[in-house]
Symmetry: C3
Subunit: 438 residues, 3 copies
């Protein structure tokens, strides 16, 4: 019975009866009035990727396997208006803190939260790894902020979704916190701040089987103290080729030193109709230097990229949009045995700013995928991807990207003799993910 | 139904029906006879701190934010007499083991436990971080032992509380265990031992709305192998200025080498009356060197400090003392919307032993706080603090603490020209904690 | 009630009523049809070990204590045919990923699983640490593979048990993943592969109070990228003296470089009759070098060892064999207060291959133990062990193993003057484990 008990010290103990249910494959503990609700959220993703077709003269690419994610979370609606979350990842055996949240939702249509969580900037970045259309997000989303420590306010009705927040450093693993603490201890450096705002419209919200998401976001960001003390005050963008197995970061600006701030911006358009889901976005960044920056070229640096992707459920399933999160959700499968989703993507990232004197490289990739949605808990993903890197995408000068006049492979793009579009590292990937959530 | 089932191998499986309840905001699984009871214990604390008023000539102090604690624990009364616990912290993204306990409580009023847990020495140190009056414990509690691996026996009746234990090394994160293993592997060094005893009297235990805690403890400690092999056999005391954001350790004895043992001692007095809770304690340490210590001055080194603090619930709430733990507990809020607690503290630590040739610095701090106890799960803490460090508190010679004869800032206290009480680093802090437990 | 609900977006939510039970000391959440079943699995093991009897001229051995395991796992049968698992260890404060599993068991008598889990090779290695007869497995099991990332298929009926799998690198903690990533990034190296098969016969499966396990396994293994880049392509075997407290690795082949593959093989025989359980196994390894190996002696290297152990429950308890796992399980205690198990073991490992030019050392140990099985959750283990290492067991040249012609202690086995069987490090250990599971 709900009510009040007394403990051994005569102190009153509030108690409520809790019912236990499996809801959509999750274990949920919930009070009759639903004011109190706790659920567990576990996730295991085991990946394999193989690579082929790279020029024999260039650097080898290693096949491999990975526990891409091993997550355990407790999510708790502790009263009608307060919510908390604890979420860790043991991917490949290393512990990282993911969501650590305190949220107040006592104002209608509004959520205020503090802690460590994803900034509301990029739809693709904020989509749960369980509901991605491809195994890895496109390269350009690595310009977009992921989880940071901060505070955010969100307003959401079906038509309009708006979010604004202030954020400090990234909380992830040992390296980040060591840098923050060393920067603070030895140099008295603050953590840096970011201001991120986003607005999304969903004009088709009244329809059940279709939807449209038109969004835009900006983020003003000062350098963070998660960088090593020697790199503090800088900004560096780099990305792997949309895989976590091949660890080479082909495109890499190296550290741009003496940064005053960077301004990120994005525009995104997504929609669904029955089994079809499409999504495209451009993400850009303008990095502004301080007057006393040690960089020779003190112009602003501009980087950016985009992607367009689509998925279609072949056996009658429905795509589902999460209006509260302004992102896509788990599909509704069309068959008792599940459903198959066919996906395609084109993506591009450009970390070259020739005027700004940055030759970070550019890269594009074409991908095809097949997702087997078995049930609420199990999913398999099979991806084929072709990567095309340009001659500047040499991993900060460490990778062979062409041949010089003597026909010898070279890492130096100034010596490459191949014609435009022929230099740079191109290859194919086949990858597989096995996923279970519980 | 309770009873015995048989599994597929014909083996009997004991089973008991378990009821699920929310008790004081916690999810609790409990058998009808209460012999079996498991509960989860999650905690997220997000902190921010800003600093101001430091002399412009001195080292900068960095503002910052932190996930101060992100805890997940499972606590299990597995039979009437046996209890176990698993507790981890992911604070700022780094994994640490907290409580890992096996306990027997089959003897009336007695608890015997082994594993990793807090030594019963300092009331303030043993108070849960959820029930602290200020965001951080006073500096002098960093002389007191926290969690160590060991075994302890406790006797507790309302009037008398007594505890004695033997302890080995500290189990926390990667650094500690690496040192223990290297010391063992390369030098055959044991982990070191500590013997800690405490006695507490609670003369007012018959009153419901008041209480008095009169306690004293001693701890005899040999050097531990958690120190780096090069520092083994030493003792070092250091403390930040009662904040985890400003990482500077102003007071720091550096490693005192060739230590035979240290003797810790404390006296503490605490009490409450309705909404008022007061607490004061002195903690001291005497470090005794070996005859062959490499220290030039082989005298015993004496360090110590004290604090006095009080809190008052403004809106009718009651302070609550935990007789089993001999420490304070969560308050009982006076209003439906919660309660506000006003707090004040003075504290002081002295790591100077001029006779012993140690100039580790001394520091004092004045603090005021306001705690908003929203409900059983949510709490906000706002602290203002003024720190006053002396000229010896230069972080092992790394921090500017005064001006020399030429008017230049200096780290060398022998060159400081300021008069007594004028040198050293003084500044103010404002800090905020947002906390949720579940 | 089981059925379908609708969430705020009009999406259907499948729900099922779950009953909560304590089963054999575990908290289990299970649907009426048992298709959905989740349980928690926590474990704390606190160890102490003391050493004596080592020659005063030799290197000291450090006594010590350890949180040997602090485990937390969630195990989930999410549908009739799919199972998932998340399992971490915080032993001594360092986070490691243990089991991370996705399993399909929709084919009768067959289990297919992917993720991180123990290869089915050695019965002793695969036995849960909760059900070991001694605190630590015998030295030779460190030749056998433990958890690796991979995929496995298993067929099991009472008479026959067969398993085959392909495996990649070991997933454990930070060191392993850093090496894998660096090898991939900087050298394009794959993770390496292993192919492991095992066959077990259980001819007495129709008897309830006795059983026989006759097993054999082979594993073909290429070098893994978990080795540091500078050691890549090598194989190294080393072992402590069947304790985790004394960290010295007396027997150690050092890195054998330029390895093409190693071939592991084992034969094992185990059985039980009422309270008696016996087990013996031989494990061997043949390491084959590449033609361009930098090793001077390019012959195959052969290593191996064996153990024989037995346990007997003194007060009427029964030993229990797990036919699905082909290994031993928790005993059934004979008395209300529990049961005592007396155990004995002889073990031997030989990492010398004189023909192959490897002087890694050989070691043997005699052990006696007493296990107190208190209830389903609590167990105490007391071990006495005598270790006898040979003169080559000098920890890669770092340990004193004899006396030279001048009577001085020496690490160099070529200078040792002791007669056969007299050199090498011999000593005794007494150790204690306190364990609770929940």
């Amino acid at each position: 019975q709900d009510g009040v008990k007394y403990d051994q010290y005569g102190m009153e103990v509030q108690s409520k009866k809790i019912k236990t249910e499996m809801q959509d494959g999750r274990l949920v503990f919930e009070s009759e009035d639903s004011d109190y609700k706790i659920w567990l959220d576990g996730r295991v993703q085991a990946d394999y990727a193989g690579f082929f077709g790279v020029d024999d003269d260039y650097d080898e690419i290693g096949n491999g396997a990975s526990i891409r994610r091993a997550r355990f979370a407790v999510k708790a609606q502790v009263t009608r208006n307060w919510y908390g979350e604890f979420d860790i990842d043991m991917a490949d055996g290393t512990a990282e803190l993911k969501d650590a949240i305190l949220r107040y939702d006592g104002i209608k249509n509004v959520e205020i939260q503090v802690g460590n969580f994803k900034e509301n900037f990029s739809m693709q970045r904020n989509t749960s790894s369980r509901y991605l259309q491809f195994m890895e997000r496109p390269m350009v989303t690595y310009l977009a902020p992921s989880r940071h420590l901060g505070a955010n306010i969100k307003y959401s009705i079906p038509l309009i979704w708006a979010s604004a927040g202030i954020f400090f450093q990234e909380i992830a693993g040992l390296e980040e916190v060591t840098n923050v603490q060393d920067n603070n201890k030895d140099y008295g450096r603050g953590t840096g701040e970011s201001y991120t705002g986003k607005l999304v419209l969903r004009p088709l919200h009244k329809y059940n089987d279709m939807g449209l998401h038109i969004g835009g976001a900006v983020s003003y960001r000062t350098p963070k103290s998660t960088d090593a003390p020697s790199d503090f005050g800088g900004v560096r963008y780099s990305a792997r080729n949309s895989t976590s197995i091949n660890r080479k970061k082909y495109v890499d600006t190296d550290v741009i030193k003496g940064v005053d701030h960077s301004l990120l911006y994005t525009a995104e358009l997504a929609g669904h109709y029955k089994g079809l889901r499409v999504e495209t976005a451009y993400i850009g960044s303008t990095v502004s230097l301080k007057d006393d920056s040690p960089m020779v070229n003190k112009d602003n640096k501009n980087f950016g990229g985009w992607y367009a992707q689509a998925g279609y459920l072949l056996f009658g399933g429905q795509q589902r949009y999460d209006y509260g999160g302004a992102k896509y959700n788990r599909v509704q499968r069309g068959q008792k045995w599940g459903d198959l989703e066919l996906t395609a993507r084109y993506e591009s990232i450009d970390l070259n700013d020739f005027d700004g004197g940055v030759y970070g490289g550019a890269s594009e990739a074409y991908a095809l995928g097949m997702n087997f949605w078995v049930n609420n808990n199990v999913k398999f993903m099979l991806n084929y991807q072709y990567n095309n890197n340009d001659r500047y995408a040499n991993g900060k000068g460490k990778l062979l990207v062409g041949h010089d006049a003597a026909g010898k492979p070279t890492k130096d793009y100034t010596k490459v003799t191949e014609s435009k579009g022929k230099a740079g590292i191109d290859y194919s990937m086949v990858s597989l993910r096995c996923e279970i959530v519980f």
